[in-house]
C-alpha cells in the first residue's frame, strides 16, 4: 500500500468517526429539548392548577376570579401553537393576584401564594433551560455537514417558544 492509499483510508475513517460523533451529539441535544420541554410543560400545568385553586379558595371579586379561571383553563387546553400566548395571558392575570396579595380583607390562602411564587421561580428556570437546549440543537443543525448527511433524520426542528419570562 502506498502513502495515498493509507491517507485515503485514514480520511474515510475520520469522516466516519466524525459523522457518528455528530449524530450522537445531535441525538443528545434532541433528547435534552424533549426532557426540558416535558419539565416545563408539567410546571406550567401545575401553575394553572394552582391558579384554579386560588380562585376556588379565596373571596376574590367575580371579575378577577373569572379572568383567572378562564385564562388558566385556556392555558391548560391550548394547543401547542397557541400555548405560549395562553401562558402569557395567565402570567398577566396572576400578576394581579400578586398585586392584591397585600390586601388582608381578601383572605387569600397564603400557602397557595407561596406555592405559586415557588413554581413561578421554577418556571423561569425551566424556560431558561429549555430555550438553551433549543438554541443548542438549532445551532448544531445549521451545520453544513449535518444538513448534507441528513443526520437529524426525521426529527422536527425544535421550535423557539416566545415565553416572556419577565412577565412572570
Amino acid at each position: 500500500m502506498n502513502l495515498t492509499q493509507v491517507l485515503i483510508v485514514l480520511i474515510v475513517l475520520f469522516v466516519g468517526w466524525y459523522l457518528t460523533f455528530s449524530a450522537s451529539r445531535l441525538d443528545r441535544l434532541h433528547h435534552r429539548v424533549e426532557t426540558s420541554w416535558a419539565t416545563l410543560d408539567s410546571l406550567l400545568q401545575k401553575r394553572a392548577a394552582i391558579a384554579m385553586e386560588i380562585v376556588r379558595e379565596s373571596s376574590l371579586d367575580p371579575a378577577t376570579s373569572f379572568l383567572i379561571s378562564t385564562s388558566a383553563h385556556a392555558a391548560r387546553e391550548a394547543v401547542i401553537s397557541d400555548r405560549s400566548e395562553a401562558e402569557s395571558v395567565l402570567s398577566e392575570s396572576l400578576k394581579m393576584v400578586k398585586e392584591i396579595a397585600y390586601d388582608e380583607s381578601l383572605e387569600l390562602p397564603s400557602e397557595l401564594l407561596i406555592e405559586l411564587s415557588d413554581i413561578t421561580n421554577k418556571i423561569k428556570l425551566a424556560i431558561n433551560l429549555h430555550l438553551e437546549a433549543v438554541n443548542a440543537a438549532r445551532n448544531v443543525r445549521r451545520k453544513i455537514i449535518i444538513r448534507i448527511f441528513r443526520l437529524a433524520g426525521k426529527a422536527p426542528l425544535p421550535v423557539r417558544y416566545a415565553f416572556e419570562d419577565d412577565v412572570l
Binding site: F21, R25, L29, T35, T39, L125, L129, E132
Partner: protein
C-alpha cells in the same frame, strides 16, 4: 425533595486558597446539612493538610499560567481514569462540575460522564484568542451539561462570548450570620477608619488608587486611618510610601476567617478600588452583611453587587480624585453611613447560603427531570452493552 447523592468536582488544588474552593466547601457543607450526600473530587498537593472525610483525592496538581495568575490543575490519562473510577463507584444522581471549560478534572468528568450534569462558571474574562482554536473541541463537551450556572452577570457574558450558550445566574453564597454577628476588635476601631482586603501587590486590586487618594482625604478628615489586610509584604510597600502617610496605614497581614469578620465589623468604610478582572466581588457582600458601608469602583461586577449604587457608593474606576471625593463625603456624613449600612444588610440577604443553596437545588431538580442516573459514556457504547 428526596435526598440526593451528588458528585462535585473541583478543578483546582483543594489545599490552595481560592474562591472556587471556598464556594465548593461551603456549598457542600450546606447540602450535607440538608441531608444530601456529597462527594468532592479534587486535586490535592499535600494530603496531610486535608481532613475532610468527603473529599476524594485525585492526585497532585500541576501549575499552569492562566489569566495572569497561576492555576493548580490536574489532567492527563491517569487523572482521566481516576475520574471514571470515582464516577462508577459513586453511583451519583447528579454531577456538579465547577469551571468545566478549564483544562482540569471538571472537563475530564464532563467528557466521560452521561446523565444529569450541572456546570458552574466562575471566571469572567475578555474573549481570548486561544478559544478560537480549542472552542470547537470544547463545545460538544460543555454542551453535555444539562444546566449551566454563572456566578455573576459578567461570568454569564464570558460564557456567552466563548460558547454561544446561556446560563442561569446564581450568585456566590456567604455565611451572612458569621459577619452580622461578628464582634469588633477594639484597637481596629477608630472614628475614621477605612479598610481594604486583598492581595495588595497585584495592581488590579487597586490599592495604589486608594493610596493616591489618601493624602487628599487627610486634608479634609485629619484623623483618617487605613487598615490593609491580605497576603503580601507590607514593609516593602511602607518603604515606598510618603513619610506623612506612613503612620496612617497599618498592615495586618493575612487574616483568618474569624479575624476577617471582626475586621469588617470594626472598620467604618470598606473600600474596593479594584480596576477589573473581578467576576463577582464576594468580599463586598461580606462587608455589606457586616453592616459596613462599601465604596467600590464602578466595574460591572461591583455595580451589580452594590445594586447600581443603592447598597453602596461607586466611584469612577481608576480615578483616585473621584474616590477621595466620595470617601470624604461619606466620612463626614454619619446619617448616610447609617442608611447605607441598613440598606447594605438588606441587599446582602440574597447572597446568604440559605437562599443560594435553595436556588442551586432547584437547578438540580430541573437537571434530574429525565430521571436517569449518572453513568459513563463508555458504558453506553454498543460494544460495551450487556
Amino acid at each position: 425533595m428526596k435526598k440526593l447523592k451528588i458528585g462535585m468536582v473541583c478543578p483546582y488544588g483543594w489545599d490552595s486558597p481560592g474562591g472556587v474552593q471556598t464556594h465548593i466547601r461551603e456549598l457542600t457543607k450546606h447540602l450535607q446539612d440538608e441531608g444530601h450526600q456529597v462527594s468532592v473530587f479534587a486535586p490535592v498537593s499535600d494530603e496531610e493538610r486535608v481532613n475532610e472525610s468527603w473529599l476524594v483525592n485525585a492526585g497532585k496538581p500541576i501549575s499552569i499560567p492562566v489569566n495572569g495568575s497561576v492555576a493548580r490543575v490536574l489532567f492527563g490519562p491517569i487523572a482521566s481514569s481516576r475520574v471514571k473510577q470515582w464516577i462508577t463507584q459513586g453511583d451519583f444522581d447528579l454531577l456538579h462540575l465547577h469551571e468545566p471549560a478549564i483544562p482540569s478534572l471538571s472537563l475530564l468528568a464532563c467528557s466521560a460522564a452521561t446523565g444529569p450534569m450541572v456546570g458552574t462558571f466562575h471566571v469572567s474574562s475578555p474573549k481570548q484568542k486561544a478559544i478560537y482554536a480549542i472552542g470547537p473541541i470544547l463545545e460538544p463537551i460543555v454542551e453535555k451539561l444539562t444546566a449551566r450556572i454563572a456566578v455573576s452577570e459578567s461570568a454569564r457574558q464570558t460564557l456567552k462570548d466563548h460558547f454561544d450558550t446561556d446560563a442561569v445566574v446564581i450568585p456566590n453564597g456567604i455565611e451572612s450570620s458569621q459577619y452580622s454577628s461578628a464582634q469588633p476588635t477594639i484597637h481596629w476601631r477608630n472614628p475614621h477608619t477605612l479598610g481594604f482586603i486583598g492581595r495588595f501587590e497585584e495592581s488590579r486590586k487597586g490599592l495604589q488608587i486608594l493610596l493616591d487618594a489618601l493624602p487628599i482625604i487627610a486634608r479634609f478628615v485629619p484623623d483618617v486611618r487605613l487598615l490593609v489586610a491580605g497576603p503580601g509584604d507590607g514593609d516593602e510597600l511602607i518603604k515606598k510610601l510618603d513619610i506623612g502617610l506612613r503612620n496612617r496605614i497599618v498592615f495586618l497581614g493575612f487574616l483568618s476567617e474569624q479575624e476577617k469578620a471582626s475586621f469588617l465589623k470594626s472598620i467604618n468604610i470598606y473600600v474596593a478600588p479594584n480596576t477589573g478582572g473581578e467576576s463577582f466581588g464576594i468580599i463586598l457582600t461580606e462587608a455589606l452583611s457586616a453592616g459596613t458601608p462599601v465604596v467600590g469602583s464602578d466595574i460591572s461586577a461591583f455595580k451589580a453587587v452594590l445594586d447600581n449604587g443603592e447598597a453602596g457608593l461607586l466611584f469612577k474606576n481608576g480615578d483616585s480624585a473621584d474616590l477621595a471625593k466620595v470617601l470624604i463625603g461619606l466620612l463626614r456624613d454619619e446619617e448616610l453611613q447609617q442608611s447605607l449600612s441598613s440598606k447594605g444588610k438588606l441587599s446582602s440577604q440574597k447572597y446568604d447560603w440559605q437562599v443560594v443553596a435553595d436556588q442551586i437545588l432547584s437547578v438540580y431538580e430541573m437537571a434530574m427531570a429525565g430521571n436517569n442516573k449518572v453513568g459513563l459514556i463508555s458504558d453506553s457504547r454498543f460494544w460495551n452493552r450487556r
